[in-house]
Each structure stands twice: as structure tokens, then as C-alpha cells.
Amino acid sequence: MKRKRHPGNRPPDGQPSQPRTERGSKRSRISFIVLLVVLALGLLLVGRYRADAPNAFGRWRISQRRLVDAQWWLEWAQRLDPNNAETEFLFARVARRKGEMAEVREHLARAAELQYPLARVEKEQWLAMAQSGQLREAEQHLASLLSENQGDGAEVCEAFVIGLLRHRRFETARELLRVWSADLPHDPQPFFYLGAIEQDQKNWDKAIGFYEKALQEDSKRGDISIAIAKCYLEKKQPTQALEHYRAAAMPDGEQRVPALVGQAHCLRELGKSAEARAPLQQALAIDADDSAANFEIAQVELEAAEFASAINRLAPLVDREPRNHDARFAYAVALRGTGKAVDAAKQFEIVSRARKQLTKATNLAEQMESPDDVEARHDIGAIFLEYGDPEEGLQWLTSVFNYDPNYKPTHRVLADFYAAKQTQSPQCAALAKHHRAMSQE
């Protein structure tokens, strides 16, 4: 009868622990397993499936909306296999989620080159079109996208919802969100978008209700906590907002920096500027160039009359983001504080002019009585292009061509815009040439 070995107990000295034959058998088994692992790793690292594991992780992180993590896994997949079609496809999806449509086109083209199924590439293109607001082109594919979604039903719904929200078609978006929510009742995202719609309509309490439902489904979503915090800030309830920013500032969360900046903002709203420095310093330790963190800490410095320090933060920020009017205004205040009245006046003037123009654009948009008022669309787009968000300006300007493809003033503005960027990419050069030609026809 073999003596049963008690795990963890060494045998008494002088006695063999186990019979030799049994020991050798175990070694063989371990060696075999090690060999198998090495072979598997070898296959993973050098074989055709070597990118599959990081791709799978990437896909999983995309589904969780952890885009930074997803990007990391995909970059690893790309290092293992630089010509992997699936990786390119997933890169395109990440880019779409971020709203970087030029990147989407680039990665999808590459995926197609690498023999990724064309049907899937095409569907992703439709989703990109829907998401960027080109609903006329995308909508005819909605039924097929939903019926043959291959597990991507949520992707389809989300892309169309974003597109609808761009067009402020809230009722239609709500209908689609209900379909989505009915199919995937534990997906937080439909509630998140329902909250966003209510937030846009300034129904803060309803928005908070939807966001809280979303948070019930995924309590780790920092972006949802931040959305709730923003609603409380709109309600002038910074104490409640602060709680939600704190919840969003998880140590490894992707929203840590904005959550820390949000905390600081709330503390300032509560008149506790001195306490706001700590979270801002944490945020800047993670990302020293974060615009919002630099802006907030500069505001703290302005309140403390530390004008020189504020100038050091704001001058590079204004250089980097010339359309950041809030930062420029703070910069002007800081300059004024150091006695540079003339320089300050110049900066104040730039902000004042931009604010007036943006107000004009907003008023034009609100008072536009007919969707085919191309002159108003052009004026709004041109203002946003020069003073506001260029992406928004481009959307307004390109929308002109839905009603008048030959509207020369818009072609002229776009020609100038792309000509200024033509050294950056051949696409810009081509667009500049196209719009110049159209403006002269």
C-alpha cells in the first residue's frame, strides 16, 4: 500500500520521497506540457493565427467601449502580424467609434487589400456613413444590417443613433433605441443615449434617470458617471456633481483625467479653489498636456492672482488650440494681471469677435426656416470653420451640396480650407483642386 503523501509535507530526512519510476514519469509529463505550450506559443507568435488572441481581446475591449485598451491590443496584434486583415478591420472600428472617419477609410481600404470579407468591409462603411450623418446613403441598408448583423446589432444601432442625433432627429433615435434596448436589455448604451437626448433637451432629471439605468448595467463606466455629473453641474448642484466625478475617477479608468478635472471644476464651483489643485496635479501627472486640466489649473492660479504661472500654462494651450476661446480669455485675464494691457486687449478682442460670430451662427441655425436655405447653411458653416469646431463647419458646408451641388461660395471656402492643408495629405490636395474647379465653373 502506497503511503499517501500529504501535500506540503516534506518526507522525513533519509527517506526517498517517491519511487524513482514515478518521479521520472511526472518529469516526462511536465516536459510534454512545456513542449506543447512552447509549440502553441510558437504557433501564436509566428503562425498565421498569431494575431488572433490580441484581436479577440481588442474586439472584446471595443464591445466594452474601452477604446484605449482596444487600441493597445490591436497594436500588439499588428506587431505580431503587420498584415492581418482582421486587425485592420478592428482598427477601423475603433476609429469609427472615435469619430475619426479618415482613419476609418484608410483602415478599411487596407483590410480589403488584405482580403477581409468585402461584405463586412462594405457594412462597416455603411455604419461609418450612418454615424457621420450621411443617413440618406446609409438608411437603405439599415434593414439588411439589422437582419444580418452577425452579432453586431448593437454596433448597427449605435452608428445610426449617432447619425440621427447629429441631425437632431430625436424621436426617430428614440424608436431605434427602444429596438436596441428590447433586443439587448442589459446593454447600458441605449440608456446612455436616451440620457444624452434628454440632456440635450435640458431635461436634466430625466437624463440623470436614464444615465443611472445605464450605470446599473455597467457600474464601471466612468463616462456615464461623468455625464451624470455634467447634468448636476447644469442644475447648479456642484456637490452632487462632485460625487459622480469622484466615482468616475477610478485608478485604471479611461476617464480618470476628465474625472479629476471635473472634480476640480466642482470644487471651484463650490468656492474651494485651493482644494482643486490636488486633483488637477494628479491629472497633469497622467497627461501634462491635457487641455482641460491646464485650463482649470490656470483658472485656479488666476483666482490666486498667480498671473505669471497662468500665462505659462495658457500661452502654449492657446498656441496649440487657437479656437479655444475660453483658454484665450483666461490668457487675456492673466496678461492683464501682469500689466500687459495692450497684449491683453488684443486677446480680448479676438475672443470677443469669435464669440459674436459664433452667436450669430447659432442664431442663424435656430432661425433657419427652410432646410434648403443654402445661404444660411453656408454662413453657419463658414463661421464654424473659422471660429468654432472645424468638423462642425465642414458638416454644415457639405450639407449645402445636398440642396445645391454647385453653390460656388461654399466650393470657394472649402477650396481655401483644403488648400491650406494640402501639404498634410494628398486627399486634402485633391479636395482643394476639386472645390477650386467647382468654384470657377
Binding site: 440621427l164 424608436e175 429596438v179 447648479k236 485675464v333 464669440r355
Partner: protein, 578 residues
């Protein structure tokens, strides 16, 4: 009074219509969606739990003051005109040293004809007892829809006159000294027919006579009356649907006539003015002007001497919020909230915009300090109108009250009727929102508009009169905690204008100096008491008073008598000319 916050990212119109196929695809899956009616919004409740010691007891019923502003809303035009409301002036029109009350009457619509409602004058009889003397004291045809009333002795004859602003023209009520007023705007050449709101009397060109700045609003008329909606229902149009009307400045010649000098002195033409206050904001011995504009930049006109102005609102940091965005500004006041000897500015703004407290650094430079002083943490959204700084609790620093009420029938973010606010000053560092017991005027929601402050019952603390929309005006008796001492000084100018508008008074105490100014205008469409008032905490020693008259004459005086009113006559000297 903006009706919607401006955010370019949130206001885009649909770029294209979604074709029916899209809707059909979704409709195939679902039934029709029903739109829900807007729910009643959460009240703007304060978070503190300790009820306020100051009570502000409602004395309206007892007082015999029965007045309600006529807005004309029954005509259901949803005109922006009917939502501005009216103001109130606290004045001593019969020189009996008792504060009387004059309310702007408003107006009505006969179809689309706009008619005025008479202003009402209430004469003080006894403590919290007033008599309506309008029928014989106001021999005036109030043909215009009227909003504002600014009291001042413009002709230096010893009797307080009143300027009534409104839609269609001004009415200058000249006090005849016999207890009656007659209208003299034609003789006085105050021929401004544009839609006027608030006004400020002050001696801008330092000639010893009161001039007047008149704020104007927008170019609404029934010929320019677009259909606007809120929650799908007809609602009042926001001011951005209309063009601004330029303000006017009239200089007095001292003989009862005025001259429009708006062009000559360099007034801007792009403001939508609702509030105005006049004081020496850069401490250079002349009177400057601050104008609260609705959705456009606020103006700061610094007087360069002899009444020539330079508008510096943006550069001075007082044109908008802390990042330079124009607010919907209504009520306005000046104060020295932190007792640093500089006059700071206060503006009551629209719902999503915090009220603005601008701290003066001197030399006409200001910083928006609403965040650091706790103003941004009011725990609610308020549309602020009438407002006044005063030491309501007699503790030695100036607190502030604001009358609130929305301008939309269906406001998206808060209720139409709103509770008023008392923000208590904590030693010039922070303001705390006071909490009132249920049933108190300050715990109930109103559609507040004009507000004026004065010690109506001579008990040493500052009481309030508030004019509302759709609700009778209220007289509120301050029950400040006993124990504090108070000082009150009335100035009578001789070389300066008789009301001494523009004078600065510094009470020297063992806890530091307390600055007051006799300001022109302030609040919203209303006129508060021109007498300077101080609360001083128990145990604090007052060592003297320094008065700087508008003429430039400076007097250093022994401490005034406490708990009574001191009357000071300006020492004789020729009017200062710069």
C-alpha cells in the same frame, strides 16, 4: 432675459430630412411614441437646514398697498413686452421724511393697440400704513406701457421727481411741491420714444445737475412679432429674435431741459439694456456707467471727464461670464462686498448662467469671482431681476437679495415662478444662501421683477418692496437680529446735485472701513432709498465718517449718531469742472 442658452453644439437644425423608409423600418418594429407633457421641475431648494434668522414678514395686507402690475397677458399675444414687468421707486415725495412708494403700472392690449396702465403712488401714513394718493397726486396721462420708475430731484428744487420709462416714450413726473406731479417730458425735451427699461440719474458731466442714462431693449412691435414655441406650444420669443435698440444719454442744462448727447459721448448701439447703474467705478472722481444687457455684452462706460465715455466692458472683465460669454443680464448693483475700498459690480442673470460678482482691483479692472465666493453653488437655476445689496442682518457686511421669476411660459429647465434669494455675506469671503421657514415670502415662489430697498419702518434694518408679474406687489418687513447698531446718512448737495448722487461715504470702524456710494439707478426698473446705511456689529467702535461729495469736496467728520438718521449739508463751493 435669454430664453435659451446659447450653445452652438446643441442648437443645430436638421441638415436633411430622414426619408420615410427609415421611419418605416423602425415603425415596423414598434408602435407610435407618445410625447410626454413636461413635468413640474424640482424646486430650487437650498441645502442648508438651519432656518434663517431674518424673517422678512409680509406686511402687504396690513399696509393698505394693493397693487398689481398690469401685464396684458390676458390678451394672449405672448409678446416679449408683457414679460418685462415693472419696477417700484421708494421716495419721499412730500418731504415728510417718510418713504412713499410709486409703482410702474404696465399696460394692456386692446386687440393690437398698446395702452398704458396708470402708475400708482402710495403715501406713507404710519408704520406699515399707506394711502393710495394716485388719483389726485398723479395728474398724468399714462398712455404708454410703462415699466420703470427712477426717482431723483433732477431740477434741484428740493422735491423728488420721477422718470417713468416704457414702451413708446418717457414720462417725466415733475414734483410741484404741493403733493402733486405733472408730466414735463415735452418741456424737458425728453423726446425719446424708443422702448426704454431702466434708467440712472447722475451728474455725468460734473456741472451740478443730474443727467440721465436710459437703457433700451429690443425692436419688438406687432409688426415684428414672430411666432415662437416652447414645448411645442406658443411661447414668448427670446430677445435674440429681435435687434437691439441703442441707449440714450441726456445731459441736463440745469434749467429743466435735457439734450440727447448719445452720439457725442460715444454710446454703443448694440446692447439690449435692462439694467443700469451709475457710480464712480474706477475711483477717479467722475461717474461711470454699467449697463446690464440681455444676451449681448454688458457695457462699462468709463467717464474720461466732462461726460465723454470709453466703453471697456470686455477688457475690464465685466462684459460677461468668467470666460467672456455674454449673459442674459437683468438686475444690477454696486457694492464693496469685500470691504477693500473698491466698488464691485453685481449682476443678476438668466437661469443657466450664474449671477455675476465682479471684484474690482481698482482703475476700472474687475475679475469675475462668482465661483470663489460661492455664488455658483446656489443649488438651483434662477432668472434674477430686481436686486439690492444692503447689510440686511446688521453684521457689518453687505448681503444681497434677488427677486426671481422666469420669462417663458414653459421653461425647459426650471419653474416659471421662483423663490427669491437672500445671500448672506460671510465677512467678504463667501455668500451663503439663506434658508427660510415654510410660509415665509422667501420660501414661496413668485414671478419677481422690480425690487427696491429702504428702511420703511424706521427700525434700522432694510426692508423690501417687490413688484411681481401676475401677483400683487409685496412689502416685506426685515426682522434683523437685535443687537446690531446702525447708521444712516442723508446727503443734501449744494454745489453738487441735491441728491448727492455719486457721493462716496466711508464709515471708519475698529473692524475697518465700510464704503457706501449714492448710486444712480441699480436693481431692475426700480429705485431704492438714496440714503446711505450701515450695520455695525455689537462691540465694534465707529471712529468717524469721510464723505466725498460729487463736487470733489471731502469732509472728515466725527462718527454720526448711531441708530438714527444724520442729515449732512454739502459745504459751499462752486461746482467742480474738470
Amino acid at each position: 432675459m435669454p430664453l435659451q442658452k446659447r450653445n452652438p453644439l446643441h442648437k443645430r437644425k436638421p441638415l436633411s430630412r430622414i426619408p420615410a423608409i427609415f421611419l418605416l423600418t423602425i415603425a415596423a418594429c414598434l408602435g407610435c411614441h407618445k410625447t410626454q407633457a413636461p413635468a413640474k421641475k424640482e424646486e430650487n431648494k437650498a441645502t442648508a437646514v438651519q432656518p434663517e434668522k431674518i424673517l422678512f414678514l409680509d406686511k402687504t395686507k396690513k399696509s393698505g398697498v394693493s397693487f398689481q402690475f398690469t401685464s396684458g397677458r390676458q390678451a394672449d399675444h405672448n409678446s416679449i413686452l408683457e414679460w418685462l414687468g415693472g419696477g417700484v421707486a421708494i421716495l419721499d415725495y412730500d418731504n415728510d421724511r417718510q418713504p412713499d412708494l410709486l409703482f410702474a403700472g404696465g399696460g394692456d392690449f386692446h386687440d393690437k393697440k398698446i395702452v398704458g396702465a396708470a402708475c400708482q403712488l402710495f403715501r406713507h401714513q404710519d408704520s406699515w400704513s399707506y394711502q393710495n394718493v394716485s388719483s389726485w397726486a398723479l395728474r398724468v396721462d399714462f398712455s404708454h406701457y410703462n415699466h420703470g420708475c427712477q426717482a431723483a430731484d433732477y431740477d434741484n428744487d428740493g422735491f423728488t421727481d420721477v422718470l417713468v420709462t416704457g414702451y413708446g416714450g418717457l414720462i417725466l413726473l415733475h414734483n410741484q411741491g404741493d403733493g402733486t406731479f405733472v408730466e414735463t417730458q415735452r418741456e424737458s425735451r425728453l423726446d425719446d420714444a424708443s422702448w426704454s427699461t431702466s434708467a440712472a440719474w447722475a451728474d455725468f458731466n460734473a456741472d451740478g445737475n443730474l443727467d440721465v442714462y436710459i437703457a433700451h431693449y429690443v425692436n419688438w412691435s406687432f409688426e415684428n412679432h414672430p411666432l415662437c414655441k416652447g414645448f411645442g406650444k406658443p411661447d414668448v420669443c427670446p430677445p435674440k429674435r429681435f435687434d437691439p435698440l441703442p441707449d440714450t444719454l441726456y445731459f441736463s442744462n440745469g434749467a429743466g431741459e435735457f439734450q440727447d448727447v448719445s452720439e457725442a459721448v460715444g454710446l454703443r448701439k448694440d446692447g439690449k439694456g435692462l439694467g443700469v447703474v451709475a457710480a464712480d467705478l474706477d475711483q477717479d472722481q467722475d461717474i461711470d456707467i454699467y449697463v446690464a444687457n440681455d444676451t449681448t455684452d454688458n457695457f462699462l462706460y468709463l467717464n474720461e471727464g466732462d461726460g465723454v465715455f470709453k466703453e471697456v466692458g470686455v477688457v475690464a472683465g465685466v462684459s460677461g461670464d468668467d470666460v467672456g460669454i455674454a449673459n442674459g443680464s437683468m438686475g444690477v448693483d454696486v457694492c464693496d462686498f469685500n470691504q477693500d475700498g473698491q466698488l464691485d459690480l453685481w449682476v443678476a442673470n438668466y437661469a443657466e448662467e450664474p449671477f455675476a460678482l465682479y471684484r474690482s482691483f481698482g482703475g476700472g479692472q474687475f475679475q469675475h469671482v462668482s465661483k470663489s465666493t460661492g455664488i455658483n453653488a446656489l443649488n438651483g437655476l434662477f432668472v434674477g431681476f430686481g436686486t439690492a445689496f444692503a447689510d440686511f442682518d446688521l453684521d457689518g457686511d453687505q448681503d444681497v437679495v434677488v427677486a426671481n421669476g422666469h420669462v417663458m411660459k414653459y421653461p425647459p429647465t426650471t419653474n416659471m415662478e421662483q423663490i427669491p434669494l437672500l445671500l448672506r455675506n460671510d465677512n467678504g469671503r463667501r455668500f451663503e444662501r439663506a434658508v427660510f421657514e415654510e410660509g415665509n415670502y422667501f420660501a414661496r415662489a413668485h414671478l419677481g421683477r422690480g425690487l427696491a430697498a429702504a428702511d420703511l419702518d424706521h427700525d434700522g434694518d432694510i426692508d423690501l418692496v417687490v413688484s411681481h408679474l401676475h401677483e400683487p406687489a409685496a412689502l416685506l418687513s426685515n426682522g434683523a437680529p437685535a443687537g446690531g447698531q446702525w447708521f444712516r446718512v442723508r446727503l443734501i448737495g449744494r454745489s453738487s446735485n441735491r441728491d448727492a448722487v455719486g457721493a462716496k461715504l466711508v464709515l471708519h470702524t475698529s473692524l475697518g472701513d465700510q464704503l457706501r456710494t449714492v448710486k444712480g439707478g441699480g436693481s431692475y426698473l426700480s429705485q431704492s432709498d438714496l440714503r446711505a446705511h450701515w450695520g455695525v456689529a455689537q462691540g465694534v467702535v465707529v471712529s468717524g465718517l469721510t464723505v466725498t461729495w460729487p463736487s470733489g469736496v471731502q469732509q472728515k467728520l466725527d462718527p454720526p449718531s448711531r441708530n438714527t438718521t444724520t442729515i449732512l449739508l454739502e459745504p459751499r463751493r462752486n461746482a467742480r469742472r474738470k
